[in-house]
Amino acid sequence: MSSERDSPSQTPPIHLARWQSRIYAIIGLSVLLVFVAALAASVGSIKIPFLTTWQVMISKLPFPHTAPAFPSNIEIIVLEIRLPRVILTGLVGAALATAGATYQGLFRNPLADPYLIGVAQGASLGAVIGFLIPATWHGMGIGVVPLFAFVGALVSTAIVYGLARVGKTLPVTILILAGVALGALLGSIVSYLIISSGEKMHGIIFWLMGSFSLSQWVDVKLVLPYIVVGIGVILIYARPLNVMQLDEEQAQQLGVNVERLKLVLLTAATLITAAAVSFVGTIGFVGIIIPHVVRLIWGADYRFLLPLSVLTGAIFLIVADVIARTAQAPAEIPIGVITALCGAPFFLYLLRRRKRVIF
């Protein structure tokens, strides 16, 4: 006993090695994200050289630089059309992937996605109502569709939350079941409204499948605070979320305030999902698959899973959007079609290659 205390054996750096590789991954993906964003701003109906895109973006940074060496129409395309779209896409991808990882961790369920507890159906119903109300209402700053979608998402989640609450606790099984049931109810109302929507049907369906074609700086400015704050809160709670993976009772016995953790994380994840879908529609696949891709490659520790999901989600959706707007140019394919079409085969490949426990 005493010899053990005098000279404790050296802790081998097993853990550190894993941490190091994941920290390098975070740095590498951050660099890749900036690179992909610039590339996405170069590609389109008018091809802009990659370096010119960089020059345009750097010229807007607040430090001394030489006079611009590019025409002003290029500047407008990059800064006013493509960049807001790329940034909004990145924010939405990051938000959906983070929300998905959070729900999967909170519910300890690999099938959880950001839409599990009624966010998507609530947003869809809100958006459809927004499409259907008389055009005279459409005069308030931001479009009525995103506003209604955002409110719809929050209201439906609040109802699910209220239904599932038992005393001071929130049993996750009841939460999921209530979410699925309310989702089905709202979904059927949405279907009915679509059928009876006449000539507005095309616009509604396009919204439901997701599109970034109308992105503007205004949208970015409205969505940014929700997503940045929400993701920030979730990242702070990564360590207790790890402990939650044991089960609720063990987590409590290891000092986690489980009910507060659930409340905070559900609110944050719902808020970023609602903000993400309100402008661009309910894009599928990203929220459920990106966290699993990250798990397959870098492991299940939420302290790394969450930031890596933020970056991977943003990169993936930016790339998917580039494909969506260039593959059939000048027509646009809904991005929800692309995410699954390109993402699913890659995920299935990863799944086959690494046959080990991932969740």
């Binding site: 006993m1 053990e4 404790p8 054996s9 802790t11 081998p12 097993i14 853990h15 550190l16 300890r108 702070i236 360590r239 207790p240 790890n242 402990v243 993976q245 044991l246 089960d247 009772e249 063990q250 409590q252 016995q253 290891l254 000092g255 986690v256 305030n257 798990r295 492991g299 299940a300 520790d301 302290r303 080990r356 426990v357 991932i358 969740f359």
Partner: protein, 268 residues
Amino acid sequence: MMKIEMQNVSLGYSGKEVLKDVTFQVLPGEMVGLIGPNGSGKSTIIRALTGIIPPYRGKILLDGKGVDRIPRQELARMVGVVPQIPLLPSAFTAFEIVLMGRNPHLSFFQYESQRERDIAWRAMERTMTQYLARRRIGELSGGEIQCLVIARVLAQETKAILLDEPTANLDIGRQVEILDLIKSLCREQSLTVLAALHDLNLASQYCDRLVLVNNGRVHAQGTPSEVIIPQNINEVYGADGCVYTHPANGLPAVLINPGNGQVLTQRR
């Protein structure tokens, strides 16, 4: 140094009373065994001591302080628990699980430092689980997981340890190793140890005192020689009195007496 106390505690789930007027205490440096038939309330006592089920009546005290008044994180620095069937996430590595034992000692924005890693590693060495460190939980056996959870509770560095069937999944060699370890920690660091045990012989050999629970009530408590007597065994388990004296140390030992099938009939 911590004293665990239950004073006239009655509690239960959704109105049904599971524990009735339970009173006992565990002193620092003492290893107390909870014994009793299935469903008698052993696990409920352990859960109640971690503040998960509030009592209808009576007091649950840790060092004289009501368990419901202690914040979660502080409570987790005082009392560590080894659950009966520890469900662990299969994608995590063994080392990551043991490191979770350090959670109550870290403040909100803190990540584990080299110090926490060293403590976790020491705990793995003591439970002889260090060879598992890199493996994923999904690849481990029930016994290995059991030892890992004991390593986690050691890494938690609490003054009291509550164990719910800590040896249920272990072979006889591992049972002795783990209980030896817990007993020596109990003695050297004056830990307060309460262990629910099914195996009456292990309880008799390792515990300083025993609390025999039946139908949510304390049927008897005292030293193993006082509690493990044919009359108690008969009343509580409905089995014939087959208590002998351990040849080496004189403590009571229980041997089964097959073929009289009274257990089921009597308890219905």
